[in-house]
């Protein structure tokens, strides 16, 4: 790979090459991997699991955190001496697997093996034969991911230190009480803390021996405030005695170190808090001397925790430069000199170096110590801390990208003039695009939209529920819906299509968590469609239904309500041909329009009326009783006069109870009855009966009321 230009150098921004360990028994396999990775990484090779373990062992001698020297292991499974799984077991026991990610590469494709590998903690599994580019990418990704994860873990820990800052106020108050009894300036605690932290900062620059991260330094600073809490048990007379203490008094005075530590140790809770642990060290050992001649335990050198060493030095410095009942204050220079010369105790030479090196800063700082400065200092710590994490730049970049995406989204949303929306179930909330909200007269964010009267004024409650149910009844595989409804655009009711995607969580089982989508105005096209549908279903001259559509409606009616009784009525105009012949066709049309109007007025809402063609009309109606009366009324309302033309009709009626309940039978029977009516002299209506199957007219009615009665008689 190193000489091949067709592979992009993915890793070229690395300053220091990271190291990868390849564990595989086949020389050839190792060579292939090594060849692919050698340009970007240092490659170590091991022939089997045992050799791999040996290498890790060797590395971990000098580097307890293996990740500092080894970034990744590529591990085969089948090997002599010790196979890949056995090596993983050992890495687990030794906790190495926590430090170094492992990618398993094997021709073993059996899923049990892959699962076992993951169970043992491998980060990835690559099957043989592998693709060079994939191996390369996975290696990079694994290394980056692992580094990021570790960084994040430490960032989270660093966040916690901020929490400790908050408790520092309480500590300050507590320690001030101690000071108050001591008759000290009230600034002693603050001074000690400031100097301690400054010294520690310097020490951290000089050596990494004490592992002084910013959060550790801050913790020690906070805990330093408690260094003298043990003095609370010392008699005020001794504490504030102007002259030299007697041996006995001095012994009591000295007891404050151990008493303070005991007080902390006696805490029934918080024993494991780092702050308590550090405060314990400081209380107990801030009077120890580096030469081992201090109290209470006579610890020597670095047996004394660094926290206590620093606080001891800061305590001595501040005591020297402050006025006490038993002495005047020394100047900064005098104090530093006295300490450096060993007149005021024995200190770690490295710590003394720190003091002399930052002497000037301490003098400046002490000249102007006040609590606000302290805050500023803390702020600086936080800033430094943030600067230390390069990842923040990365996450800032992510935020920028996110912001960019958001801007892009809202720009396009505004451009598109669309009502876009996003819905979440928890919290129940709809957010609308700015344009959409304005257009609908709604807020951009609406809480609890399924119970919002404002929302209901735009989309009525039933439709809202129906939309919600439609979304809920999707599945993660088929989350998209299309939902037509009428939206109220600030008074303008328009047909709208809502297209949306339900959002399902990736949990098992998946949960419906909301939806996103947009509303499209389809009013115009819908209206056009409605119009076309109307055109297709209606007779253009009279506006009644046409025959084909009437038949469809009638069939639907019969099917949906099979228990009802129906009447099929067919009628036509008597002598209509003469109207056309005598007055012209347009007059004939006017007659038909007039008749259609009459017909519309004489039927009920649910009845179906149609022009079957020419001058023939069809009525289909549902009835419960007294059908004769209804027919008679309709018949008479249709007869009359249009201009000079007398309107007379012949009508045939078929009733469903007496006939097969299908359209054709009813239509045929009504037609037979009409034929009978015509044969009997027109201008009348006629009910179908069985005798007409031979076109024989049995019951002809001419004059309405009588006719109806006649028919009744004959039917009973």
């Amino acid at each position: 790979m190193n000489l091949d230009k067709d592979v992009i150098p993915l890793n070229n921004q690395k300053k220091k090459k990271e190291t990868i360990l390849i564990v595989d028994d086949s020389d050839l396999n190792r060579a292939i991997l090594s060849d692919m990775l050698a340009q970007d990484y240092n490659v170590l090779e091991a022939e089997n699991g045992q050799e791999g373990v040996d290498i890790l062992e060797e590395l971990s001698k000098d580097h307890p955190d293996l990740s500092s020297v080894l970034s990744l292991i590529l591990l085969d499974i089948v090997m002599p001496v010790m196979n890949g799984f056995q090596m993983l077991e050992i890495m687990r026991e030794r906790l190495w697997i926590e430090d170094v990610p492992v990618i398993m590469i094997s021709a073993e494709k059996d899923s049990a093996n892959i699962e076992r590998a993951y169970d043992l903690g491998v980060t990835d599994f690559i099957a043989r034969p592998f693709d060079a580019l994939i191996v390369h990418h996975r290696v990079i990704n694994t290394i980056l991911l692992d580094a990021k994860q570790k960084k994040l873990a430490s960032m989270v820990a660093d966040q916690i230190y901020e929490k400790e800052q908050r408790s520092s106020l309480m500590i300050d108050i507590l320690s001030h009480i101690v000071e108050f009894r001591n008759g000290e300036s009230g600034l002693h605690v603050l001074h000690v803390r400031t100097i301690t932290e400054m010294l520690l900062d310097r020490l951290a620059q000089k050596t990494s021996r004490y592992n002084l991260t910013p959060s550790v330094i801050s913790l020690i600073g906070t805990a330093s405030a408690l260094h003298d809490i043990g003095k609370i048990s010392v008699d005020e007379k001794i504490l504030n005695k102007p002259g030299r203490l007697t041996d006995e008094e001095f012994a009591i005075m000295k007891s404050h170190a151990k008493i303070g530590a005991d007080m902390l140790e006696g805490l029934s809770i918080h024993q494991n808090e780092p702050l308590v642990k550090v405060a314990y060290e400081i209380c107990r050992w801030h009077h120890e001397r580096y030469d081992g001649r201090g109290y209470p335990d006579g610890l020597k050198g670095d047996e004394i925790p660094i926290s206590a060493q620093m606080v001891a030095l800061a305590d001595v410095y501040d005591a020297l430069t402050s006025k006490r009942v038993y002495k005047p204050p020394f100047s900064h220079e005098q104090a530093v000199q006295m300490i450096a010369e060993g007149q005021c105790g024995a200190f770690n030479p490295l710590v003394l170096e720190c003091l002399t090196e930052i002497s000037e800063s301490i003098r400046d700082e002490m000249g102007s110590v006040d609590p606000t400065r302290q805050n500023r200092r803390e702020m600086q710590t936080v800033l430094q801390e943030m600067g230390r994490h390069e990842e923040l730049t990365a996450s800032e970049r992510t935020l920028q990208l996110l912001e960019h995406e958001r801007m892009k989204y809202s720009y396009f949303a505004a451009m598109s003039k669309e009502i876009q929306f996003e819905f979440t179930t928890s919290p129940a909330m709809v957010s609308l695009s700015t344009w959409g909200a304005k257009h609908l007269g709604l807020d951009e964010i609406i809480m609890d939209p399924l119970h919002s009267s404002k929302v209901f004024s735009v989309l009525d409650a039933d439709a809202c529920r129906s939309l919600s149910n439609t979304l809920r009844s999707t599945s993660p595989d088929q989350p998209d819906i299309s939902f037509d409804c009428q939206l109220n655009y600030q008074g303008d009711l328009r047909w709208t299509r809502i297209v949306a995607r339900a959002v399902w969580s990736s949990d098992e089982p998946p949960r419906y968590t909301g939806a996103l989508g947009k509303a499209i105005d389809i009013h115009d096209s819908r209206m056009r469609l409605d119009n076309l549908e109307r055109l297709a279903s209606h007779d253009t001259l009279t506006g009644l239904l046409n025959h084909a559509y009437a038949k469809k409606r009638i069939l639907e009616r019969i099917t949906s309500r099979p228990g009802s009784s129906y009447a099929m009525v067919i009628f036509d105009l008597d002598h209509f041909k003469s109207a056309n012949d005598n007055y012209g066709h347009s007059f004939g049309d006017q007659v038909l329009i007039y008749l259609a109007d009459l017909l519309r007025q004489s039927i009920r809402g649910g009845d179906i009326a149609a022009r079957a063609g020419g001058d023939e009309f069809v009525i289909f109606l549902e009835y419960k009783e007294e059908i004769e009366t209804i027919i008679d009324r309709i018949f008479h309302s249709l007869c009359g006069q249009y201009k000079d033309f007398p309107i007379s009709i012949s009508m045939g009626v078929a009733l469903s109870p007496a006939l097969p309940r299908d359209y054709d039978s009813l239509f045929h029977a009504a037609d037979q009855a009409l034929y009978t009516a015509k044969r009997s002299g027109r201008g009348r209506y006629c009910f179908y009966d069985d005798t007409m199957s031979n076109t024989f007219c049995a019951t002809v009615r001419h004059d309405a009321p009588d006719a109806a009665e006649h028919q009744k008689e004959e039917r009973t």
Binding site: N29, D76, A107, A132
Partner: protein
Amino acid sequence: MTLQECYAAMGGDYNDAIGRLRSERLVQKFVLKFAEDGSYSLLQSSLADSNYDEAFRAAHTIKGVCQNLSLTRLADSSSALCESLRGGTPPASGLAEQVSTDYQETISAIQTFREGISG
């Protein structure tokens, strides 16, 4: 003989190898190196000693390398042999012989190829 012709003679899939390893140079380098790999002689000696665990590992290695280099024919026969040896059992008859035949063909193709490029 080109590398492509060599692959044809070995019963391998030249395009697949190039597609995965992304470089003719790399494929050529490792094909040549394949002839020097000791796994085959380890397989033979392990089979002769009836050390089937060792034979399994050797067959497994041959299979893995052949898969990586897309030497399909030998990968298939060594895979069959490998599965047969899994768990330390003696191989089913004919499998080891098939691997030998395929291996010899592969090696002779590589040698012809090598002579071609050095000559």
